[in-house]
Amino acid sequence: MEYLASNKIAIIDLATRDIIEEELEDDLVLEKIGGVGITKSLYDRFADENPIVLGTGLLTGSLVPGSALSVITAKSPSTGRVSHVPLTLDAGMELKYSGFDYMVIKGAADKPVYLWVHDGIADLNDAEDLWGKDVWAATDRIRDLMGDDLIQVLGIGEAGEKGSDLAQISINYWQSGDRMGFGSLFGKKRLKLIAIRGMGLLEIAEPEEFVEHCAGLLSALKSGKTSGMKGIATMAAAMGEADIEGWLKPLTHKHMACFNTPVPTNTFVFLDEDPALLKETSVAEPGFLLTDISPLLTLKRLGLTAADACRILKACAKYGMDGAAVAELSEKTGLKDPEAIKGSLPNLKGPVSSSGNAVFSPWAAVGNQEPKTWMRREAVAYIFGLHPIFALMAPELTEEKLLEISSLGTGLELTSETLDEVIADITG
């Protein structure tokens, strides 16, 4: 595909270390549009080889408001279903500019490896010195090695290395929307991490019209109901848990957005520094970026202080374990002591309900939406590459508008009938 894409799919065999590149054909885009439409198609093609498929949405990394999302599709060890988890923060955008639109990772390495994806090149490298490191240390190490602090790292910690079904693929230092246990898939494949850096350029079929439509959408959003919303507590308020904002406020340093997402849905808390500090702190690791509201709600319900809850989630992030699963299991077993919860991580086992019942990660939750409506909206977000929480909040991003912008961007005629077919295929 000539526009809004790097026009490349990488097929990576960890067992043989062969990496094959294919073109992203227009016909595949016309049939499956993008994002999860194509990752699911690639998963089905390589299903016998237990693949992990990474992919970008059709509009990921563009000026369309909320275009932060890439996706990982694989068979969830938690649910046994082929499932999809979101890559947000800056990782989804970085993949789009890395020179690959989609990557299929199949087979298993015989010793630890990492995948370095940059400038249209994908390399497998030995990761024996990274294996055994926690998520934070591994991220630091790979960034030091490459001399670039903006490299985005999809990695696992000890939980993934041990094959725990509660293990998560983290984004840099932080918890991701992986509630499906995909971290254990990395561990079983001996894939410690994927390091991504994007310096690419995406051509646009009709640039002026495309950008004007993006500006129009942003203008509508700025006068809409999401205007002024900020922080992780925004989602809690929509769930009737408004008091969590006051609970977190004494720790709140700043609310942070994912790439080109108008509502900053993440909140950085300072745990070992004054949250009001404006200058650069001398503390190396002063706090934690909260990216998932669900475990916070559970830990608050257990009676923990905000600081203790955030420290538990920081420990989960370093260990590479899904905080929502940890919070759920702590509640089930009545564990309320923060040190005991942190100490329980190596031996925690599911099953957990935090993986949800859908093919999409239940991480994106705003209010109590009717399941069918939620599923359709998530499918749209995962196809076009929109932040899956923001997509739930922003009705201005209509399917018709997204199809129109996509056609302007790609020069391909994409129809609502095709979108319906792709959604039906994904959601079964």
Binding site: S62, L202, L218, H253, K254, H255, C258, K279, E285
Partner: protein, 117 residues
């Protein structure tokens, strides 16, 4: 006339950087933008905005504005910032002189952290 940056309002979403890249390349890219959020100290959540102007490199930091004249010798005791190097090689901000309705970074900032002064 120039850009005014409210870095405390900025959420580091990079919309300004992408919009600026579009102004330069008529495509989506981040390599030629003259404005970019400073994201290198992720664990400390220390963010700001860097702007390349004709004669200076402006660092809008949370604690205040720092203007470094290009070509002038910097304080030797000060730690060099890796982010400054690629910015120095880029074209300076022209306030999107060919745009009818002003700089694209202002137009695409979702939280109104950038304005004209």
């Amino acid at each position: 006339m120039g850009l005014k940056i409210d870095v405390l309002t900025c959420t580091a979403c990079m919309a300004c950087e992408l919009a600026c890249g579009y102004h330069r390349d008529d495509a989506f890219a981040l390599l030629s933008s003259c404005i970019m959020p400073y994201r290198a100290k992720e664990k400390k959540n220390y963010v700001g905005l860097i702007l390349k102007e004709e004669d200076s490199l402006v660092a809008a930091r949370p604690e205040g504005l720092e203007i470094n004249r290009i070509g002038e010798e910097q304080d030797p005791g000060k730690e060099a910032d890796a982010s400054a190097k690629p910015m120095l090689l880029r074209e300076a901000c022209d306030l999107c002189e060919d745009a009818d309705d002003g700089p694209l970074c202002i137009k695409f900032c979702p939280v109104n952290a950038i304005s004209m002064e």
